[in-house]
Symmetry: D3
Subunit: 63 residues, 6 copies
């Protein structure tokens, strides 16, 4: 029962998350040989002031 | 200092989370031999459109 | 399908982990109302030089 | 810079993990609109005695 | 590309998170030899009723 | 009790991890106002074939 945790900035639509979950599940079934029904995909979304790259908070980078 | 991360769909009451934390801490003390005061339990709750099983987002399964 | 991640120092036996998984699953079924068959428990064990409390690596604390 | 953490039982080959990483990165670029170079995929593999479903350790289920 | 996940109770200001991200990135560059631009720092904040120590939910401890 | 999870490629010495833990704990005490004794730092190290950037496994990038 593979678990795939997707961590990304907020901003993707419900439709996009639905599509990401569907496609990643396909990948796990095809490339990892997992039973499709057993694949779990979770989304954790970060607000721009909760995510930094290179020491700089995204909220500032996006200004 | 064991850390136990509980990841589940939203919907459980504060009372339920309190009880889960209390009981999991007991389990870690009794079955893992951890000092009770040192056990940390965290809750991460997923909205139904942030959690998919079998490629299908829970928000759709629950419709 | 709740996922419970147990993070702790190495040193518990396979028998202990088996018991922890069994009991935490009971807790999730009883206190969270989860279907028992759907509860996932994972273990991530840290070597004493991969875990620090108060700024001090456990490998040094345990000396 | 999306981070995708793949958590699964041990047993997939290096070739399979390479393919999973490649394909999940494509999904994130196509369905999430992420820059391909910025996508990180990590693998965390669980030994069968570190992963339980329904309260039963996989090592026992697989016997 | 080290990823540093900071998990803490809610309550720190945006200014504090900015400073934490900046300083942890320095630590990773200086002490771990990481390229500064490649360091990712994320924040996950827990409400006081989502975090328990010693079996007691923080929301109750803080009362 | 902040928890800071450091996820990086294998290759840093025990001495480096000790220093990283010490310094990150200082950061959390100074910039986040955490009690130093309560800060937990964990290390999770990835083998080069368990970590991909831009769809390419590090083991191949490093060749």
């Amino acid at each position: 029962m593979p678990i795939v945790e997707v961590k990304m900035l907020t901003g993707r639509s419900a439709e996009q998350k639905k599509e990401i979950a569907r496609q990643i599940t396909e990948v796990m079934a095809n490339a990892a040989g997992a039973r499709k029904e057993a694949v779990i995909v979770t989304f954790q979304e970060y607000a721009p002031d909760h995510y930094a790259v290179g020491g700089e908070i995204m909220a500032d980078k996006l200004k």
